[in-house]
């Protein structure tokens, strides 16, 4: 029972870790570059969830100090994660641009094939 | 700034400057280039010689630049040993430079040879005149790396191979030295030479450092297990460069060892650590193997190179005995061997220059056409064998006496054995060339005549030195060697 209790109170962290592992696994096992990118985003999301969960309080509201708001979440993690999201978006956008170019040059999105093509050129 | 104008520093800086100047003017005028290349060692010689009276009065000239490369600092010093070795280096270098102006006419890439020869001189003078281990190391590397250019001068596949071997071993040696120096610095907090040494005891790290020095200097000096580059690198270089490599640059290795044994560790610590046994063992192997292998060589320059290995063993023996008279022999042999080997390489080079024949077996009867050259060769060879009153005899005599003083009969026998082997590999050459019949007269081109003066004069001059130094004790070489050895054994703690 204590274990369940503990799991429940840490549910956000738990989910974050599970998401992270899913992302990591996908990234390692899938050959498709787009899927790799999606996996990367899942991992990022997991970390964001983790970070936001640090500052979350059950039933808390947005931390804007107007009358009526008594219980609010810690604003710092949220603010940081906003930045994190921006960074993640830029990464993704840039990576997509590169993927487009890669497809143009190699005609495939399969990482193994790309390596094979590149390897042939070297020989 | 005035510090830089002190004469010992100038003896090092001038060749360095000349390197730059030669590099700049060589495309405009080859005459100026050659003149500068000859002038550089002469200037070094003069600047160093100007310290003669000061040093002989017992003063140790010391110039320090602590600002350069803290925490080690840089310093130059002149004492008896550096004076003797420095004068030998610059003097022989001057003669070889004169010789090379004529010899190199037939060679390619002269614009590379002259500046790098001068740069090597700067390195060598720096090694000899350094006042601490770090300065020594710095110039040692400068010398070794610029000498690489001389080794591979011919650019044949053989030369490149030999050069690469030389380069790798040089780097290994440099790193071993580097390790040893920082270990010394770690132990003692200083790297400046002090009479009697500054290492207190032969601790584990100190012994490790000693082996580092042994490897570093041993590679340069061609001590036997580390000599592998030498018989390949010396013969492939142009003859004047061979003379410099064999006659002079090997000496920097043993010079460094002398400094390490007497001015860094101190002979007492070396003896206490049992390190002299290592030196003696190596010396015995070096003497024996160097001489023995030389017999089997037919290529004259290879034979001379192996002979150098054996001769380095003598000097190492003189150091390892840790005995004053033996050290006199060793220091004197630095001078004697430099002169003898330079004469041998230059005259052998002259023959190759004239006839293109490198093999001893092809030299039959050449002495009739190039009599002066071959007589000089003979004088140097006899001196190598140890015939009195030539210089080679003096060093062997002192070494043998030193061995007796130390109670090591075995080394006397070894010296005699080595002399015998010297005889075996030099005498046939002399016999063949001077007295042999020309068995195939057609092969010798009819134009084989005596050498041009610029090549002949240095050879003859050195041959005369070999003959007369010992006959005129007032020349002071032996005296200087004695004083140097005494100073090294002086313990001031």
């Amino acid at each position: 029972m204590a274990l369940l209790e503990r799991l429940y109170t840490n549910i956000y962290y738990l989910v974050a870790v599970v998401l992270f592992v899913i992302g990591f696994h996908t990234m390692l096992t899938h050959k498709n570059l787009i899927k790799k990118l999606m996996a990367l985003n899942i991992m990022d999301t997991a970390i964001f969830l983790f970070f936001v969960a640090i500052g979350y309080r059950q039933g808390g509201q947005a931390p804007i100090l107007v009358p009526g708001v008594e219980k609010f979440v810690n604003p710092i993690p949220s603010a940081l994660i906003l930045t994190g999201i921006v960074i993640s978006v830029s990464f993704t956008a840039f990576a997509l641009a590169l993927v487009v170019l890669l497809y143009k040059h190699y005609g495939t999105l399969d990482s193994d094939e790309i390596i094979a093509i590149r390897g042939k050129k070297h020989v | 700034m005035s510090l830089f104008l002190q004469s010992p520093v100038l003896a090092v800086i001038i060749p360095l400057l000349f390197f730059v100047v030669i590099y700049m003017v060589e495309r405009r005028s080859w005459r100026l280039r050659n003149a500068l290349a000859v002038l550089a060692p002469l200037a070094s010689f003069v600047f160093l010689a100007s310290n003669y009276s000061r040093v002989l009065a017992g003063e140790r000239v010391l110039i320090e630049f602590p600002a350069i490369l803290p925490p080690l600092g840089m310093s130059f010093s002149v004492d008896y040993l550096s004076l003797l070795v420095g004068l030998v280096v610059s003097g022989v270098w001057f003669l070889v430079a004169v010789y090379s102006t004529e010899y190199m006419v037939k060679e390619h890439a002269k614009n590379r040879y002259y500046p790098f020869s001068t740069l090597t001189l700067a390195g060598t003078m720096g090694v000899v005149l350094s006042g601490d281990l770090f300065t020594l190391f710095l110039f040692f590397e400068l010398m070794s790396l610029s000498a690489y250019v001389l080794v591979v001068h011919e650019e044949t596949a053989e030369a490149m191979r030999a050069g690469y071997k030389y380069l790798v071993l040089t780097i290994i040696g440099g790193l071993a030295l580097f390790f040893a120096i920082i270990a010394v610095f770690e132990i003692a907090g200083t790297v400046s030479f002090a009479s009697g040494g500054f290492i207190a005891e032969a601790s584990g790290l100190a012994v490790l450092a000693f082996y580092g020095f042994l490897i570093g200097f041993g590679i340069k000096a061609g001590i036997v297990p580390l000599h592998v580059w030498l018989p390949e690198a010396h013969p492939v270089a142009p003859s004047p460069a061979s003379a410099l490599l064999s006659g002079i640059m090997l000496k920097t290795g043993v010079y460094g060892l002398i400094r390490v044994v007497f001015n860094v560790f101190g002979h007492e610590v070396v003896r206490a650590g049992g390190l002299d046994t290592v030196l003696l063992g190596l010396a015995a192997v070096t003497i024996f193997l160097g001489s023995a292998v030389a017999i089997a060589q037919d290529d004259i320059k290879r034979r001379l190179a192996y002979s150098s290995v054996g001769q380095m063993g003598y000097i190492l023996l003189g150091i390892g005995l840790l005995q004053e008279r033996a050290l006199i022999g060793a220091i004197f042999h630095i001078f004697a061997h430099a002169i003898m080997k330079a004469t041998l390489f230059l005259s052998a080079g002259a023959i190759i220059y004239k006839t293109g024949k490198r093999r001893v077996s092809e030299w039959r009867g050449l002495g009739r056409e190039m009599t002066v050259t071959m007589v000089s060769f003979t004088v140097a060879a006899l001196s190598m064998i140890g015939i009195p009153p030539l210089v080679g005899f003096v060093s062997k005599w002192e070494l043998a006496l030193g061995s007796l003083d130390a109670g090591s009969w075995g080394f006397v026998i070894l010296l005699l054995l080595s002399s015998l082997m010297n005889f075996i590999y030099y005498f046939p050459v002399i016999q063949n060339t001077l007295f042999g019949e020309q068995h195939a007269a057609k092969e010798v081109s009819p134009k084989t005549r005596e050498l041009p003066l610029a090549m002949l004069a240095p050879i003859v001059f050195m041959a005369l030195v070999i003959v007369f130094v010992d006959l005129f004790p007032q020349s002071g070489v032996l005296d200087l060697a004695k004083r140097a050895a005494q100073a090294l054994f002086l313990v001031v703690k």
């Binding site: 992270f20 990234m27 570059l33 990118l37 990367l40 991992m43 990022d44 970390i47 983790f50 970070f51 640090i54 710092i76 993690p77 940081l80 930045t83 994190g84 960074i87 830029s90 990464f91 840039f94 990576a95 590169l98 993927v99 170019l101 890669l102 040059h105 190699y106 790309i114 590149r118 | 600002a67 350069i68 490369l69 803290p70 080690l72 770090f134 190391f137 710095l138 590397e141 400068l142 790396l145 591979v152 650019e155 490149m160 050069g163 690469y164 380069l167 790798v168 780097i171 290994i172 440099g174 790193l175 071993a176 580097f178 390790f179 920082i182 270990a183 610095f185 770690e186 790290l205 490790l208």
Partner: protein, 488 residues
């Protein structure tokens, strides 16, 4: 009005603003180039001012927006930050110069300049940040810009390399962010000074969190700084980038992440904690592996730029080694090596880039006798290589000297020997290039030296190598102070 205290933020802002303006004036390339160089020069001047100020009156703390710590964002300019931004600004200005005057290698030049300025701004931000999240943001900006300046070349190899770099870099960022989250959980702060104070009491309570955080930190910054087993992206990325980018990436960017790591170690963890945790041993082992493996991989390379890239892996190992040995002289060696390797590797990459541009030869086996056609360039390469090997009289000797002395101070003779072995290995991989170039026989007759303006940076860097090889006293006080910060 503008007192010296604003200089730190002005450095970042100058570069950022120029980065945004340059694409707007892309129709007028002369103006764009002028702005590009001007910004670089201003930053060099500011860095010199900051350095003098820090040497005179100690650490500068700049609270952005008048919000002071723990809530606000601070720039903490201590001796280390001043030193690092001096190195970054000077070396990157030399590279700017080269990029502007060398033959162009990219299509969209103004964009390229903008990216490089952005990268420089981020690097200055990283070395000065006093707030770990701010540091993270700058790390991200620099990572993106670093990837972009590889991809701008537009060849398929460069795009493939930059994509791989991007993915690994993103993974590293994830790790870094995760570790920041964990550290924030333990300490409740983001300002590194406050975090250290909080850690003093809470580190014992949450050892697992702390260890996990540090593991992710090592992985995150390790990927970005190419610490040995995480270096796999580096050779391709650095070898396929345009010349200026290669120099910038190998000479500075990789090292800035090491600096970030060092700053986190002493500002956030405190060296006591660093010593207690197994971090030091792990880093020592990884650094040793990096030194050996980087050198061994470099030996088998024929492509010159790949060779240089692998050599960077080994050299980063030196910096980590010196830092984690933690004796005063070893740390000084590591700090020297940050500067000296920046000089050497920039010189080598620029010079090799010049060779490739002028002759089209990319491999060691192709450069036969090229030194006769390009004597100055190859003289510079030779000097750089000698310095890499650590020949005394060149700058590379200084850092090796200090590192080896530091290893002996720490009683770890094995690491001193390791440094020597690695020097030997670098000799083995650098000398064939030089020997081939000087002694080969079929020189291509139509290859020429580049213009004077392109040769100038090479000459300046070569002179710097000689100067620091013999007279390092000029920067010595700064290096000493920096080392004191870390080892106190």
């Amino acid at each position: 009005m503008f007192s010296i205290s604003h200089a730190p933020i002005l450095m970042v802002v100058t570069l950022l603003m120029t980065a945004f303006v340059v694409p707007l004036v892309r129709k007028n390339m002369r103006l764009a180039k002028g702005l590009f160089l001007g910004a670089g020069l201003i930053v060099v001047a500011l860095a010199v001012l900051i350095t003098l100020e820090v040497l005179q009156s100690g650490t500068m703390i700049y609270a952005v927006g008048e919000w002071s710590a723990p809530h606000g964002i601070e720039l903490v300019v201590d001796a280390f930050a001043a030193y690092a931004s001096l190195v970054v600004s000077v070396i990157s200005f030399i590279i700017y110069w080269f990029i502007v005057f060398a033959p162009r290698e990219v299509n969209y030049e103004a964009g390229y300049y903008a990216l490089i300025l952005l990268l420089s701004a981020a690097m200055h931000g990283i070395v000065m940040a006093g707030d770990i999240f701010n540091l993270f943001v700058f790390v991200e900006i620099s990572s993106l810009a670093a990837v972009a300046i590889i991809a701008v070349k537009g060849t398929k190899e460069s795009i493939e390399a930059s994509f791989r770099y991007l993915m690994l870099s993103a993974l590293g960022s994830g790790g870094l962010l995760f570790s920041i989250a964990l550290l924030f959980m333990i300490t409740g702060h983001l300002n590194m000074g406050y975090m250290r104070v909080a850690l003093a009491t809470t580190a014992g309570q949450y050892p697992l969190n702390l260890l996990t955080a540090l593991a992710f930190m090592v992985i995150g910054l390790g990927v970005k700084s190419a610490l040995f087993p995480l270096h796999i992206w580096l050779p391709d990325a650095h070898a396929n980038a345009p010349t200026g980018s290669s120099a910038l990436l190998s000479g500075l960017v990789v090292k800035v992440y090491v600096i970030a790591f060092m700053r986190i170690a002493y500002m956030l963890l405190g060296m006591d904690l660093f010593y207690i945790l197994p971090l030091r041993q792990i880093l020592l082992v990884l650094a040793a592996l990096a030194i050996i493996a980087g050198s061994v991989f470099a030996i088998v390379q024929d492509n010159i730029k790949r060779l240089l890239a692998f050599s960077t892996v080994a050299q980063v190992g030196y910096i980590f080694l010196g830092f984690s040995l933690l004796t005063a002289r070893a740390v000084e060696g590591a700090i020297w090596h940050i500067l000296i390797h920046a000089i050497m590797k920039t010189l080598l990459f620029l010079a090799v880039g010049v060779v490739i541009q002028q002759s089209g030869y990319k491999k060691i086996s192709q450069v036969h006798g090229l030194a006769r056609r390009m004597p100055l360039t190859f003289a510079c390469i030779t000097l750089g290589a000698l310095s890499m090997v650590g020949i005394p009289g060149t700058a590379g000797f200084i850092s090796k000297l200090y590192l080896a002395l530091g290893a002996l101070d720490a009683g770890l003779v094995i690491f001193a020997v390791l440094i020597l072995i690695s020097s030997l290995l670098s000799a083995i991989y650098y000398f064939p290039l030089i020997i081939t170039a000087y002694f080969g026989h079929d020189a291509s007759p139509d290859v020429k030296e580049p213009s004077l303006a392109v040769r100038l940076p090479l000459v300046i860097l070569s002179l710097a190598i000689l100067f620091y090889g013999l007279m390092p006293s000029m920067l010595l006080p700064l290096v000493r102070q920096t080392a004191l910060l870390i080892t106190r």
